[in-house]
């Protein structure tokens, strides 16, 4: 499990508190249609039985062509600013965003990669271990949508199949009229379905859908983390007392670590 203990900082700001499950952007291309938390998850949250998820973070990697607005999207969400000047990202940038989902603290670690071809070698070294892959394209430039396939393929190569949530995000929504946007979305939704990704249209300039989108990302990543944790623990439980040797240690204080040799000498 990729996890690291976070310093317990100040409380989460109010607009990062997620109590009800954020909705999809379009039902035509979304990862799940449910509008509330998974039963097991909300039960676990109520009983504060989420294990170590509260101390966990999920890694989010944002990829896409240069100048589609990856950095702008992240800066709009994390710092609530929009800079008109284009500044190419060199290598990778990094933001940490703290949430409180269903009463449990949770963090997203957002890696903003460079879109320029010449920085791809460095950027691709950061794709590994992602729980969420956000592939961004420019709604006004359909060529960038075409390239998302390649970006996604590169990012998936560094991750184990089936471990990541995929999002396809169209940026610069403010530059399009309603009709033009709808037209672009049809194409994007088709591709999203092909990729098995969830589709969103956003604008970093106006801030439209930006918060809703990241809340959705956080909620899905959080739910997945909790479910995975519950599953791991429940799969660990039946082994206890199964007659196999190691499970004799059930009553020892280091029960949770029973999968590891917990001799003090080995650390």
């Amino acid at each position: 499990m990729r996890s690291s203990v976070m310093p317990l900082g100040p409380t989460v700001s109010r607009d990062r508190i997620i109590t009800s499950f954020p909705k999809w952007y379009t039902p035509a291309a979304c990862l799940q249609l449910r509008e509330h938390f998974h039963g097991q998850v909300s039960a676990a949250c109520q009983h504060r039985n989420t294990g170590t998820v509260g101390l966990k973070l999920s890694k989010v990697v944002v990829v896409g062509d240069l100048y589609v607005g990856k950095t702008s999207l992240i800066h709009r969400f994390c710092k609530n600013v929009f800079d008109r000047d284009y500044k190419a990202t060199i290598g990778v940038d990094f933001e940490m965003e703290r949430f409180e989902v269903a009463g449990i603290p949770f963090s997203l670690q957002i890696w903003d990669t460079a879109g320029q071809e010449k920085f791809k070698c460095i950027a691709s070294a950061y794709y590994r271990g992602a729980q969420v892959i956000i592939t961004a394209f420019d709604l006004t430039d359909m060529q960038t949508l075409e390239h998302t396939r390649q970006w996604l393929e590169d990012a998936l190569r560094e991750n184990e199949p089936g471990t990541c949530f995929l999002f396809l995000v169209g940026t610069k929504k403010d530059l399009l009229s309603g009709a033009a946007c709808e037209q672009a979305e049809v194409e994007a939704v088709r591709l999203a379905n092909e990729m098995q990704a969830e589709y969103w249209s956003v604008s970093a300039k106006t801030g439209e859908n930006v918060k809703a989108f990241f809340s959705r990302v956080a909620a899905l990543a959080f739910e997945h983390s909790v479910l995975q944790d519950l599953e791991r623990r429940s799969s660990a439980r039946p082994q206890v007392g199964d007659g196999d040797i190691i499970r004799m240690e059930e009553h020892l204080p280091e029960t949770q670590d029973s999968k590891r040799p917990s001799s003090p000498g080995c650390c």
Partner: protein, 789 residues
């Protein structure tokens, strides 16, 4: 009169006399009117009214009495008031007098201050007049001064005059022209402006000549004059032009030297990094030497402009050096070959990773040098801005910060280096992967060692690669390399170890026979015949066994090495971060990548555990199980005589302990202490579980129970000596079973159960206690059933 009434009224209030209650008292206030009385005809009614009137009369009388009582006090008050009258008149007179005096003083003061104000105005005007007269005099003096200075070629003096003129208030000059001598001043002004133009032209020309001749004192002389003429930008741009030329010529010289360097030179491998270093050092020296002049004559905040011009030349020179580097070292060619190798995994024209070693080192060195140089510029410029912006608004400061970031991040040097590092990362990845593969292929094991050579080799390589990335001083590059190393260790290298463990710990022929044979005699027999088996087969299985155990040790060392690697990297990087490398998020990026690396250490730990379980179930369990099963062949339903005989000729436990000891000795020699410890722990757990099973299959009498208790005690005593972990806990259930089997009577259990259990925590359920009790053939089942547990 009116006042008197009022006084009376208030006096009444003061005395606290309550006003008459409503509706009662006060002649006219009576509720019964004369008309009402007249209209009455009935005696009864009349009497009633009369009664009421009498009542009212009494009330009125009481009130009157009360009022009369107050008369005295009111009269005395009145007397006092009358006495106060004259005093009040006196006070009034005094007050009027005071008011008159105040009014007088006020007008006097106003009178005085208006004069002062007039004086002040006059003084100010006087000062202005003097200032203007001074200015006009200055102007004249400047006009004269400029002419003479120009004639004497004293350009500093002339520039100082012009500077004075430029500093004068333009409106003053405008006003002076409107005076009587307007035409004279006009003419003078014209002369002055001409002189200014002339001086500008002369200075520019002289500066150009001086730069052409490379006459540094003259260059500096005229450089100092520019700001006096208000030509800051021009001065800086011309001066930097001169400096750039110097940088360029020096750089060209250096580059020529490089091309002529002998390949056997000691620094030949890093010659391009050295050239860049010389270039950067040259520029840094220029900045160092000329910063004081710029600061003194151009004011703070101008260094940015100078460096902006210099950076253009620096970029040009860097481009040349890097171009030469790419060409001479075949950098792009090498990269393409590496990429092909990585992509196709084809054996065709595979690059020997060792060939890449020098070029990789050189690239990181080049990047480190440019990072150092850029950091130097950043420090200089921002401290210069700081001095200039000490009074400036937050916006101006941010604007300056932004332009500084833009200059340093977007300069060609930064971009070129980023590109080189991008290619470097891929080549370094290839270098690491290939060298690791080679180390795995050349893996050797030396007798007496716990681990094989590849673990040390692989970690040496990983450390080397990450260390090289670190030496580039680029945090992004370092983090990328840590990520790549994490992937390499987690997937490729772990797979190697995993596959070795998958081959399993071979069951020996010796064990195969054991499995089929149950009698202890036969085991002894066959073990005596062991030498007869095909030795070749045993040899290879021995090898496989050894390989399995060595791999276990390897896995353990890997997980330890990863932790060590993390610690070393952490301490190395604190140095780097303390120098302020890599912006605000650098530490967070680094920590995140490092935590991924540490997670791999745990994966190795899990793998070790898997291997141990495998070892336990394939190597230990098949052997231990039959040994324990022989327990069944030893009767525990014994008489005194047999019990004593057992004492002399132990039927089971001594042999069992001996077997265990022999078997574990084999592992102890070839496993690391930590792993051996885990293994013995697994083994003792196995023994406990298996022994419990056979005990539940046996039958006991009183002496048999005692015998079992003795056997268990010696077994626990032995196992305590071989493990560092406490094993009492693992044997708690068995010990409790022995206690139960040792009881005199069924009901004796109650002395130990429930409220009487004391410090003992029962690990056996009531049902299990009954089950164990039932193993005693001398206990009646009705008694057991009757027990209340």
């Amino acid at each position: 009169m009116g006042t008197k009434m009022a006084n009376l009224d208030s006096a009444q209030k003061l005395l606290g006399v309550p006003p008459p209650p409503d509706g009662v008292g006060g002649g006219s206030c009576s509720g019964i009117s004369t008309e009402l009385i007249r209209s009455l005809t009935e005696l009864q009614e009349l009497e009633a009214v009369y009664q009421r009137l009498c009542g009212e009369e009494k009330v009125v009388e009481r009130e009157l009495d009360a009022l009369l009582e107050q008369q005295n006090t009111i009269e005395s008050k009145m007397v006092t008031l009358h006495r106060m009258g004259p005093n009040l008149q006196l006070i009034e007179g005094d007050a009027k007098q005071l008011a008159g005096m105040i009014t007088f003083t006020c007008s006097l003061a106003e009178n005085v201050s208006s004069k002062v104000r007039q004086l002040d105005l006059a003084k100010n005007r006087l000062y202005q007049a003097i200032q203007r007269a001074d200015d006009i005099l200055d102007l004249k003096f400047c006009m004269d001064g400029v002419q003479t200075a120009l004639r004497n070629e004293d350009y500093e003096q002339a520039a100082a005059h012009i500077h004075r003129y430029l500093c004068l208030d333009k409106s003053v000059i405008e006003l002076s022209r409107q005076g009587k001598e307007g035409s004279v001043i006009d003419a003078n002004l014209k002369l002055l402006q001409e002189a200014e133009q002339r001086l500008k032209a002369i200075v520019t020309e002289k500066f150009a000549i001086a730069t052409k001749e490379g006459d540094l004192p003259q260059v500096e002389r005229f450089f100092k004059i520019f700001p006096l003429l208000g030509l800051h930008e021009e001065g800086l741009s011309k001066f930097s032009e001169y400096l750039c030329k110097q940088v360029a010529s020096k750089a060209e010289e250096n580059l020529l030297l490089v091309l002529g360097t002998d390949m056997s030179d000691r620094r030949a491998a890093v010659i391009f990094a050295d050239t860049l270093t010389l270039l950067f050092e040259g520029i840094a020296r220029i900045v160092e030497t000329h910063q004081p002049i710029v600061e003194t004559y151009y004011g703070p905040g101008r260094l940015y402009t100078l460096i902006k011009y210099l950076q253009v030349e620096c970029d040009r020179q860097v481009e040349k050096v890097v171009d030469k580097f790419i060409k001479q070292r075949d950098y792009h060619q090498q990269f393409r070959r590496v990429q092909n190798n990585l992509m196709r995994n084809s054996a065709s024209e595979k690059i020997e990773p060792r060939e890449l070693d020098p070029i990789l080192t050189e690239v990181t060195l080049m990047n480190a040098r440019s990072e150092l140089y850029l950091r130097f510029l950043r420090k200089r410029i921002s401290s210069d801005f700081e001095v200039g912006d000490s009074m400036a608004s937050e916006e101006v400061k941010q604007e300056h910060q932004k332009s500084l970031d833009k200059l340093l991040n977007n300069c060609l040097l930064s971009c070129t280096m980023q590109e080189l590092i991008g290619l470097y990362i891929t080549m370094e990845e290839y270098f690491m992967r290939e060298t690791v593969n080679k180390a795995v292929a050349l893996d050797t094991y030396e007798k007496g060692q716990l681990t094989s050579s590849m673990v040390d080799d692989v970690f040496y390589i990983v450390k080397k690669c990450i260390g090289r990335a670190l030496s580039s001083s680029s945090i992004d590059c370092l983090c990328a390399m840590i990520n790549l190393a994490t992937t390499e260790l987690e997937s490729d290298f772990r797979d190697v170890l995993c596959n070795k463990l998958r081959m399993g710990f071979p069951a020996t022929t010796f064990q195969d026979i054991q499995r089929g044979v149950t009698s202890a005699v036969n085991i002894m027999h066959s073990s005596l015949q062991q030498g007869k088996f095909d030795t070749k087969g045993i040899e290879s299985t021995d090898e496989a066994k050894l390989s399995f155990l060595v791999t276990l040790n390897n896995v353990e060392v890997c997980s330890e090495n990863i932790s060590t690697l993390k610690k070393t990297l952490e301490s190395d990087c604190t140095k780097l971060f303390s120098q302020g490398i890599g912006g605000e998020q650098a530490q967070a990026k680094f920590d995140s990548c490092l935590s991924d690396l540490v997670a791999v250490s745990n994966k190795f730990r899990d793998l070790l555990q898997e291997g141990l379980m495998e070892l336990n179930s394939t190597a230990i369990k098949p052997q231990v199980q039959p040994w324990i099963n022989t327990f069944l062949s030893v009767s525990h339903n014994i008489e005194e005589e047999e019990f004593n005989d057992y004492e002399a000729n132990d039927p089971w436990v001594q042999q069992f302990i001996l077997n265990l000891e022999q078997q574990m000795a084999e592992f102890k020699a070839s496993l690391s202490p930590v792993i051996y410890d885990s293994l013995t722990s697994l083994m003792t757990s196995l023994v406990a579980v298996e022994l419990e099973k056979v005990v539940l299959k046996s039958t006991f009498n009183r002496l048999g129970g005692l015998q079992f208790d003795k056997e268990l005690r010696s077994l626990i005593a032995y196992l305590t000596t071989v493990t560092t972990w406490t094993i009492r806990d693992k044997f708690a259930r068995l010990s409790q079973m022995a206690t139960v089997l040792n009881l005199e009577r069924v009901t004796e259990i109650l002395d130990y159960w429930g409220a009487n259990s004391g410090p003992l925590t029962w690990r056996l359920t009531p049902a299990e206690v009954r089950q164990v009790l039932a193993l005693r053939i001398d206990f009646r089942s009705e008694d057991i059933k009757r027990l209340r547990l």
